[in-house]
């Protein structure tokens, strides 16, 4: 109960952050050359000034900037993200269509990076400065330095072009209609390469943090107490080190949720996944500012919810947190 109220308070505290982001980006977009109406006119293949004026009036773009901002925020409260002139649909429905691939991709990458980061981090810390550690740490550094889009391209060359094991892109095979388990397997096979591509850099970060935090915890007094009790090394690690060493890693997930979402822009573009990230890219290229603002709002919401979950997990792991509340 205390945990929930703590996390709830953190959630409430993120509302001003959200408002700050929206106001900031909204004002920023006022500097953009051309507005939605310009984009629409371009889409329609040009039009006269009178039509443009008419349209501006219709969309409320002739009002002063504070008034427009007020209108926008008021519409947001009613969960109305506006209309995308490029897609000819409300922004909300465009985004909702694109959400599932991104969420699937992020969950898969995060699990992959977290699990293997944990595993390799522990192995490296246990054999510190010996060959497994050197190997893992070196690989970690190389993964960290690899540009994800390049890794994705090279993976396509190897696994799709030469070995032909996995599809080179897309979310599912649109040529054949599948249902149930077969559809899931098809989607999974499409997501293998994107997951590896997006997860690689985070794997590198997590293993480095896990290794460092294991080494730090191994030096603490209570680990000496555990040894003085007569525990063997394996049980010292599983019972006294692991949970303590996990704390910084859990914190990191929350801090990097945004980075990961940003990474999906590039990865989705490489693998032509119809997700939120690709939508962000398209709306920049097509100057669909309404959609771009909607994406900003939704991705901030996503990051905030990831942080909410992270707070809950952290409070479960660390009894000291609720005491400080």
């Amino acid at each position: 109960m205390r945990i929930l109220s703590l996390a709830g308070r953190r959630l409430a505290a993120s509302i001003p952050t959200l408002v700050l982001i929206l106001i900031g980006v909204f004002l920023l977009l006022q500097f953009a050359p051309g507005d939605t109406v310009d984009a629409m006119m371009a889409q329609m293949g040009g039009g006269d000034a009178a039509t443009a004026k008419e349209l501006r009036k219709f969309y409320g773009l002739d009002l002063s900037i504070p008034a427009q901002l007020g209108n926008y925020l008021w519409r947001l409260v009613r969960l109305d993200l506006g209309f995308s002139s490029i897609y000819g649909k409300p922004v909300a429905s465009v985004i909702i269509e694109r959400l599932p691939p991104t969420i699937l991709l992020m969950t898969a990458s995060l699990s992959f990076a977290f699990f293997f980061g944990l595993l390799f981090g522990v192995i490296a810390a246990r054999g510190v400065n010996r060959w497994p550690d050197t190997l893992i740490s070196t690989l970690g550094l190389i993964f960290y330095a690899t540009p994800s889009f390049w890794f994705g391209l090279m993976a396509i060359v190897v696994f799709s072009v030469y070995l032909q094991w996995l599809p080179p892109g897309g979310f599912e095979d649109i040529g054949t209609v599948r249902t149930g388990i077969w559809r899931m397997l098809d989607i999974a096979s499409h997501l293998v390469l994107p997951t590896l591509t997006l997860g690689l850099i985070f794997l590198a970060i997590y293993l480095r943090i896990m290794r460092a935090s294991m080494l730090e915890v191994l030096n603490l007094d209570y680990v000496r107490t555990a040894r003085a009790k007569g525990l063997d090394e394996t049980r010292v690690v599983t019972r006294h080190v692991l949970r303590n060493a996990l704390l910084p890693m859990v914190t990191l997930i929350g801090l990097q949720a945004g980075t990961m979402l940003g990474g999906s822009v590039v990865v989705e573009s490489v693998f032509s996944l119809p997700g939120l990230g690709r939508l962000a890219y398209e709306s920049v290229v097509q100057r669909d500012l309404n959609t771009l603002l909607g994406i900003v709002f939704v991705s901030a919401l996503l990051v905030i919810s990831v942080n909410f979950v992270v707070d809950l997990i952290y409070a479960r792991l660390d009894p000291r947190i609720t005491a400080e509340g």
Binding site: R9, D221, T225, K229, G230, D318, P319
Partner: protein, 540 residues
Amino acid sequence: MSEHETILSLDRLSVRLPGGADRTHALRDVSLEIASNEIVCVVGESGSGKSMMANAVMRLLPNEVTIDDGRIMFEGRDLCAASMAEMREVRGDGIAMIFQEPMTALNPLRTIGDQIAEMFSIHTDLSKSEINTRVLALLADVRIPDSKVAAKAYPHELSGGQRQRAMIAMALALDPKLLIADEPTTALDVTTQAQILKLIRDLQQRRKTAVMFITHDFGVVAEIADRVVVMQHGVIVEQGTATEVLHHPQHAYTRQLIAAVPPLKAPPPRALAADNILTISDVSKTYRTGGFLGRGARVTPAVKNVSLTLPRGATLGIVGESGSGKSTLARCIVRLIDPDTGSIVLDGNDWAKMSREEVRRETQHIQMVFQDPFASLNPRRKAAELVAQGPIVHGAPRAKAIADAKALFALVGLDPSAGDRYPHEFSGGQRQRIGLARALALKPDVLVADEPVSALDVSVQAQVLKLLAELRQQLGLSIVFITHDLRVAAQICDLVAVMKDGAVVEHGLAGEVFGNPQHPYTRALLDSIPGGAFAREHKV
């Protein structure tokens, strides 16, 4: 001790340090014996190798540190030759250990009961419910109130004393033959220390355990030891029964250590000036911690209506345990903290009413010396620069300030040429002298010293106290001296105020407060001083 069997014997034990340390061996040719039902105190200053000895017996030495000679005989076998698996059986079951800092020695993420129960699950086949019963019995044994609640508590939910009780319960879970206690009361307040010492004594006598008790404090030795081993630079310089060593020390180093223990007897009172340089009236400070929209806000009164006076040229000691508000009061006086109410009148000016900017311009009248000689000096500035900083801030030309700083070095007993060195190149005592010189550089009228000798070894402590007394005479300083150690207060203070929970419970002339305490808390404090009789009697 012939009626008892020998439990542990160290035979010419040597422990080698890795290259690059300040000496080659942490321990050299150490031989000693501990029998059942006796407490052997190992005494020494920091760096004497006393903790290294405890870790060597447990074979828990840091990675590059190795035992290179000698034997550790425990129950008929040499622990130096034992395999790791054999060592694991000895640890916890045959030899148990308690540590200095119970907060960090317990896993913060697991309950107390769980951590004690682990002792049984490692070494015995007892069932869950049996273990549970034993854990509760142990917690009751170490006199933790409400053992059921304590078993379910996490370490951060207990007080320091209770945590140390829990550590002791854990160590004694399997009735070990030998208990190694590494400075177990150093991090505790004096009244808690007295209780824990008594607890260890009681349990040891009941269970006939052999105890190796490591400490730096001769008061603790006088309180608890059957036999004493004195160490210096990794070598045993003297050992014998407690009475022999305390009252007829043979080795010069032992004599020096005992002489450095401040006796609990105030020196003859000095004449005090009639006028007060500092008058504190009704000062209060309350901390309010956050809380979202007022929820969960906590209000902690740190200082409550304190009124004290400091006669010109006198030294006022403020004594109390941790959390008594003595440090907050000190920081209110120099306005590092703004008091909520009350007045602090220094030479006719009310410091409590001045603005921050006025305080900044007037600071040369009142200066502070801090507790931690490592944290109180900016590591990136040279010593002379540190001392010259104050005058430079107040407008002195840099060259003159640096030259003056070097003169001050001589005054506080440092080599003036040492001004070009960085703080880490000095010892703890020398750093404290630099801190003192820094405060004196502004020629203050009042010096507020916050636990200035607590972080120092006893022999260094005595030197710094002596220096302070000399400077007081020489410069006509008035001093507010904050300390938790009544023996130190007795040495230097003309007046003493005892604080508890933010309020002054008793104040008066040092001789009267210590000789004829009125308030029960003052009496409790005095009774808690380890080795009370020894502290009162021993000669300087």
